[in-house]
């Protein structure tokens, strides 16, 4: 039957594209584990796993410091933008007040506003207040940028949350604040988890903001650190590959564990309506 051929062809195609997607990743990993003295590295699988490359890259690239900076910035941005998004989206999704539609569209606008248009004035503003070369220069703009998606995403959740639950809570005498934190937030854990992992990934991977705002070496985040490391070690492909792998690792681990949430969240970025 044709369906059998179709079946085989389908899996062959899927497998081919899976290989294409993985090839650069495997190339990097095999280079990262290969002997520092080997030329080219490449796809020839290394005979022994040279873990020392990671250690070397870690020390020479000062990735310990950068990792600390990235963790701090990401933690604050994710926490702040999640809380602020929940608060605002709660109002947009469950309350009626004058101008709410307009305000909501203002937030959604941020989904398409390119960072490149903002980074120039932001740099001069923050420099004026002596905030460049501080964590604030990374935290504040990135929190603002995460709010566009956060408010959009959480509003959908609140709009779909059961009206009767909210009504029942009100009849029981709960005010809007208790209703939100005691009932709707615990119920909305899946939606909130998606928001958190997406914001985590965007913040962790952010590059342009860090490049513009940070010149103090001790404040670099990991993507910025990698860019500078590439400048210094461009000849040493094994170290560079090891550093890349180290930086990608946290996001990839979370992604593999929660891939459904990543995909769901990232695909919803194209705003409907």
């Amino acid at each position: 039957m044709t369906s059998r051929i179709e079946r085989t062809a389908t899996y062959a195609i899927l497998a081919l594209f899976a290989v294409l997607a993985l090839t650069p990743v495997i190339g990097i990993l095999s280079t990262a584990f290969s002997s520092p003295n080997s030329v080219g590295g490449g796809f020839a699988l290394p005979d022994t796993l040279h873990w020392s490359n990671f250690q070397q890259a870690w020390q020479r690239g000062h990735f310990g410091t950068y990792l600390g900076n990235s963790v701090l910035v990401t933690l604050v941005v994710v926490t702040a933008s999640t809380v602020l998004s929940i608060l605002a989206a709660y109002a947009f999704g469950t309350m009626r007040f004058r101008g709410s539609t307009l305000l909501f569209y203002l937030f959604v606008l941020g989904l398409t506003l390119p960072q490149e248009a903002l980074v120039v004035p932001l740099y001069f503003d923050l420099r004026y207040f002596h905030l460049t070369d501080t964590y604030w220069a990374l935290i504040l703009p990135q929190t603002a940028q995460s709010l566009a998606f956060g408010v959009f995403w959480m509003r959908t959740y609140f709009m779909n949350s059961t009206r009767s639950v909210i009504e029942a809570a009100r009849v029981d005498g709960a005010n809007t604040w208790t209703t939100l934190w005691r009932i709707l937030v615990p119920m909305g854990r899946p939606a909130i988890t998606t928001l958190i992992v997406i914001t985590f990934m965007w913040t962790w991977n952010e590059f342009l903001m860090a490049l513009v705002m940070i010149s103090d070496e001790s404040l670099r985040t990991v993507p910025l650190g990698l860019a500078f490391f590439q400048g210094q070690q461009s000849a040493d492909t094994t170290l560079l590959a090891a550093a890349s792998a180290l930086i990608a690792l946290p996001v990839v681990v979370v992604y593999v564990a929660l891939q459904r949430k990543f995909i769901e969240g990232m695909l919803s970025g194209a705003v409907k309506e």
Binding site: V39, G42, A91, L106, E116, V119, F207, I263, L267
Partner: protein, 299 residues
């Protein structure tokens, strides 16, 4: 639902204006660090300013230069070429694959989805570093070409005037194709089997089946895919900065890179702001066009 005027549909003792309080903290951060700077960018775009001395009015100079200055026109041209690689190619490849796969239920979808989508979650800086070493003169691609005897094709891809832009484009195709496939695959699995059976009973071949069933069934997904890939393609800064720095010459310069280059390396802040604003307008125009054309939605 309630058709009464808002004053009576309010719950007792609970003025809805408390909504403002909930929105306020987010709006303050968002306004101060996103909306206000964007307004400033528009303001800056009408100035000549080096970032230090007093700014002078530029009128529309910075905008007219986008059309008259070849070094500014080129980046926008490059961006449009890159959209072929970032948006058109991934969508076409994704559709062709979805078409071949729409007829059967795929097992192990989760695994394939996870792998195909992986490039999307990697930092663009990491993607850039990885591909730079692949495309390097003694990188994996040239190694592979030499290994199969195609030495003549090997070249320093990112340093080649003609090939640098397509080479950067291919990286974009690599990043975006998985996203399109995942979208279309999910969409195609939702198209009712009966439609395919009906088409087959009508004697439709694979091609007609594609245009009559698969393509209309995936309208929504195509629109989402185009919107996401176009925005990502136009915002493409990290990759260019890491792989080519706009070079060789300005062969791979794009608006997103030019904003950074002009503002922080050439100290032409007004011009940089104008590019940023133009980029924003371009993104808006293209996303609106996509949703009108593909989804047939009216204003």
């Amino acid at each position: 639902m309630k058709g009464k005027p808002t004053s009576t549909s309010r719950a007792p003792g609970e003025p809805r204006s408390i909504g403002y309080l909930y929105v306020l903290p987010a709006l303050a951060v968002y306004g101060l660090f996103l909306l206000y700077p964007f307004g400033q960018a528009v303001g800056l775009s009408f100035l000549h300013w080096d970032g230090l001395t007093r700014a002078t009015s530029a009128g529309l100079d910075n905008y007219t230069a986008l059309f008259t200055d070849p070094t500014l026109r080129a980046p926008f041209g490059h961006a449009l070429i890159l959209l072929v690689f970032y948006a058109a190619l991934p969508v076409v490849i994704g559709l062709l694959l979805a078409a071949t796969m729409s007829r059967i239920r795929v097992r192990g979808l989760t695994f394939f989805r996870t792998v195909l989508f992986l490039p999307q979650v990697l930092a663009m800086v990491v993607v850039g570093v990885a591909w730079r070493s692949i495309l390097a003169p003694d990188g994996l691609l040239n190694d592979a070409l030499r290994a199969v005897g195609l030495d003549g094709l090997a070249r320093p891809w990112l340093g080649d005037d003609t090939w640098a832009l397509p080479a950067v484009g291919v990286v974009g195709t690599w990043v975006m194709t998985g996203l399109c496939m995942v979208l279309f695959l999910a969409g195609a699995q939702r198209i009712p089997r009966e439609l395919y059976e009906a088409a087959r009973l009508d004697g439709a071949g694979a091609v007609r089946e594609f245009f009559a069933v698969t393509l209309p069934g995936l309208r929504g997904e195509i629109s989402v895919a185009l919107t996401l890939t176009i925005i990502a393609g136009l915002r493409n800064f990290d990759l260019i900065y890491i792989t080519t720095g706009g070079g060789p010459g300005n062969a791979t310069s794009v608006p997103a890179y030019e904003v950074y280059h002009r503002a922080f390396e050439l100290n032409e802040v007004g011009s940089a702001a104008a590019i940023g604003v133009a980029l924003t307008v371009l993104i808006f125009a293209l996303t609106v066009t996509v949703s009108r054309l593909v989804e047939g939605r009216r204003a």
